[in-house]
């Protein structure tokens, strides 16, 4: 039998899952929906179309749109806090 050696794992565990406890929506009627546009090409058109569909067909009462200056910078924490407070659902864009 060959000798053994003790080796290290070079990776780090990713942070443990945390319960989000988000409020579950049962309907979009009367809801406020927020969009954080990541400034990637066409995303603002998608935001406009989704806002239109949700307002006209699902009875969403208000849409709030925020646009990041670039996809590769994080959204301003103050904007996130404000959106989380004002909206029932926040939709963000990620990647291309």
């Amino acid at each position: 039998m060959s000798a053994t050696v003790m080796l290290f794992d070079p990776t780090a565990p990713q942070v443990a899952a945390t319960a989000t406890g988000s409020v579950q929506l049962t309907s979009l009627a009367g809801a406020v929906i927020g969009f954080i546009d990541n400034a990637k090409p066409n995303f603002h058109h998608l935001v406009d179309d989704l806002a239109d569909i949700f307002t006209q067909r699902y009875g969403v009462s208000r849409v709030i749109k925020q646009r990041k200056s670039s996809a590769s910078i994080p959204a301003d924490p103050a904007v996130i806090a404000e959106m989380a407070k004002a909206c029932d659902l926040v939709i963000t864009g990620s990647g291309d």
């Binding site: 053994t4 050696v5 003790m6 794992d9 070079p10 990776t11 670039s70 590769s72 910078i73």
Partner: protein
């Protein structure tokens, strides 16, 4: 499980066979594709003996997985890359530097851009560790350059969790993602070296991390400063650049012969930066329609409304252009276009 036990590196027993160990690290995607030095308990202990910081100390959480970069984990990756124990303080400082918010590591790691992290070492430690600042300084051949840059990218992949094709979304990547590290030539230098320009003393040792998109060699036999700066500025202009879209931080490795021309013309660093900034402005119309849209989203606050005739500077201010002097003899300098939404960070190396 306490946070503390999560910060202790996992270990396991394996047959003492270098091929089998490399097979295992390859299967688990713990390597960069090249063979590794097995991180045995003895080797890691020898690496850790180079610093006085407790092994479980968390230096940073590395995006995008936000794994804890303990001194021990940094040492494990350093062993795998082939580093000498004396290199460990450089990697600890570099890991801390990458975690600063202005560096924007999250975006650097997850982007489709081919960004690699370039390490620039300044101060006395560069000579002590024999980090090459001369001929072929960003090429092959110097153990410290090769293994330090490699270790940093193993840290990014293993501790940060940025596996190619998964959280690392680079469309092509670039060879510098294996390794990219050099020192600055502080001897044949017409100006203050980088770390002094950034507020450190000449006798301190520092490491600077840069989010580099690639390297472009500039060979010119120009003999006057004005001609040299003109052709370099012309080289900077390219409509597929992230830096013009966002207002970036382009870097230059000025060759010693080019540095001498600028010195003879009596130019200081600020004047060189100013000239490059002025002469590298690009008309908005040269960008594609989508890039104009991105530039508007990113730079309207800075520049006001962008018309097709607006001249876009590559960076918000001339001082955002960064210069180091390195390399051997020859009529070459290197343009290092960068990610755009990232600023280099310099940290003191504690030995």
């Amino acid at each position: 499980m306490s946070a503390n036990s999560l910060d202790r590196a996992a270990h396991f027993e394996c047959a003492d066979d270098v091929e089998a160990i490399n097979r295992l690290y390859r299967e688990r995607r713990w390597s960069d594709g090249l063979p590794i030095i097995p991180p045995t308990a003895e080797r890691v202990a020898r690496m850790l003996a180079a610093v006085r910081i407790p092994p479980q100390t968390v230096i940073a959480r590395v995006a995008p997985g936000f794994g804890a970069a303990t001194v021990e984990r940094i040492a494990i990756n350093a062993v795998m890359a082939g580093c000498e124990p004396a290199y460990l303080p450089v990697l600890i400082a570099a890991t801390a530097a990458m975690a600063e918010s202005s560096f924007n590591l999250q975006a650097i790691q997850a982007t489709t851009n081919p960004v690699a992290v370039w390490l620039i070492v300044n101060g006395p430690i560069a000579q002590q560790l024999e980090i090459n600042a001369g001929f072929n300084c960003i090429g092959q051949g110097a153990w410290a350059n090769a293994t330090l840059g490699r270790a940093l990218h193993l840290i990014l992949q293993n501790i940060g969790g940025a596996l190619p094709g998964e959280m690392d979304r680079a469309t092509h990547g670039q060879p510098a993602k294996y390794t990219f590290c050099c020192a600055e030539n502080e001897v044949n230098h017409p100006w203050q070296p980088l770390h002094v320009e950034r507020g450190f003393s000449a006798t301190e040792s520092t490491v600077t991390v840069v989010g580099a998109e690639g390297t472009l060699n500039m060979n010119t036999h120009a003999k006057s400063a004005s001609e040299l700066l003109r052709v370099i500025a012309q080289t900077m202009i390219h409509p597929t650049s992230n830096e013009y879209v966002h207002g970036g931080e382009p870097w230059f490795i000025v060759g010693t012969e080019h540095a001498e021309i600028l010195k003879q013309a009596g130019m200081d660093k600020a004047q060189v930066k100013q000239a490059l900034w002025e002469q590298s402005k690009m008309p908005v119309r040269d960008l594609s329609v989508h890039e104009i849209e991105r530039a508007r989203a990113s730079r309207t606050v800075e520049l006001g409304p962008l018309s097709p005739d607006t001249l876009l500077p590559i960076a918000t201010t001339p001082d955002d252009i960064q210069l180091i002097v390195a390399g051997g003899a020859g009529t070459h300098s290197v343009y290092v276009p960068c990610f755009g939404n990232s600023r280099a960070v310099t940290r003191r190396i504690e030995t």
